[in-house]
């Protein structure tokens, strides 16, 4: 009986959370544009960069946790994915600093 009613009646779609996430993502992107055009880049360049990086990570969180459903998986899977990504941060910092030194070398030896 249960099987029968499941097939004949349409289950209502549960899209509330999906659309909520959509509006959050759209809102953050709009905010990024607002900051890009209104905040004076000559004086607040690194503040802007910092805000952009934070907002990007917030966006990434919503895409991965809600759209990709990682938030509702078991802890072991969450850490399997998140932990290696955290180590990438080290590489980002290390190589960008390194880039600065390469630039200095170029300045001195040219």
């Amino acid at each position: 009986m249960a099987q029968h009613s499941e097939n004949s009646e349409k289950i209502p779609a549960q899209t509330k959370e999906i659309w909520r996430t959509f509006w959050i993502l759209l809102g953050i992107t709009a905010l990024e544009f607002l900051i890009a055009f209104t905040v004076d880049a000559d004086h607040y360049k690194w503040t802007k960069v910092g805000i952009f990086i934070i907002l990007t990570i917030v966006k990434a969180y919503f895409i991965v946790a809600i759209f990709m459903h990682l938030g509702s998986e078991v802890k072991a899977l969450i850490w399997t994915v998140v932990l290696p990504c955290i180590f990438v941060v080290w590489l980002v910092v290390a190589l960008i600093v390194e880039g600065g030194y390469i630039g200095l070398e170029r300045l001195f030896f040219n």
């Binding site: 289950i11 779609a13 993502l25 880049a41 966006k59 991965v64 759209f67 880039g99």
Partner: protein, 248 residues
């Protein structure tokens, strides 16, 4: 009887059921592992961009006085300020904004297709898969236009120190800045675009199978979910490319 068990595979290697590792299906788990490896590839590309970018000097003066030169790294919003059909109008980042919106929107229709798959609603899965495919094509066409504009450059071009005029960008010369800037642009957005293209192909396959009732017969729409993961990943990468290539 005993010989059948011990013939090729050792007894302890058989997995005898129970809850699957990490409580996800094999395909989905492998998709996550693949996406993790893809994350490393894209990280490597974006980090190399960061390294080369900070090895070049930045423009010293105020931003309103900014000029293009092959000595310093360009300010991205000065490079990407063209919009189709609005020739000669400076609209920094507007077109990339539209592309970002298209990709976020197609991610939403994808997750709606996955949700419809959970309900085993064939018509809804088909509808949302079609929208997702459309979004993918819209994004790819936008990128093609953007590449075309970047390759052809502006009418003024850039005059180098030796008097040679350079128009547009390719792998060896670049009117907007050091050639490395163009190289990274082509490599990073190109690699991402290739991912979008393969995503569209996979989405078409999923749509085809859904329309033919393959998943209905199978009893579940797990394939929609697996391909959905890949599609969201493509969107995720774009979020990072957008920030680190266009905004910062």
């Amino acid at each position: 009887m005993a010989s059948a068990n011990t013939s090729t595979t050792a007894e302890h290697l058989f997995w005898k059921g129970g809850v699957q590792p990490m409580k996800v299906g094999y395909g989905k788990l492998m998709m996550w592992i693949f996406l993790l490896s893809d994350t490393f590839t894209f990280s490597a590309l974006l980090i190399s961009y960061g390294l080369v970018r900070y090895s070049f000097p930045t423009f010293e003066g105020l931003r309103k006085n900014f000029e293009f030169s092959t000595t310093w790294w360009p300010i991205p919003e000065r490079v990407f300020e063209a919009v189709p059909f609005l020739h000669g109008i400076s609209a920094p980042l507007v077109f990339v904004g539209i592309m970002t919106f298209i990709l976020i929107m197609s991610s939403v229709t994808m997750v709606l297709a996955v949700e419809a798959g959970h309900r085993r609603d064939k018509a809804d899965v088909e509808k949302y898969m079609l929208w997702t495919i459309l979004g993918g094509f819209a994004f790819l066409s936008s990128q093609a236009w953007e590449w075309g504009h970047f390759i052809h450059g502006t009418e003024e071009g850039l005059t180098l120190a030796n008097g040679v005029k350079v128009f547009g960008a390719n792998l060896v010369q670049n009117q907007y800045g050091p050639p490395a800037f163009a190289d990274f642009f082509f490599f990073i957005t190109g690699f991402h675009g290739t991912h979008v293209l393969s995503g569209v192909v996979l989405n078409v396959l999923i749509f085809y199978n859904t329309a033919n009732g393959v998943y209905e017969k199978r009893g579940h729409y797990d394939m929609v979910e697996k391909v959905g993961l890949y599609w969201h990943f493509v969107d995720l990468v774009w979020v990072f490319v957008f920030t680190f290539f266009y905004l910062v």
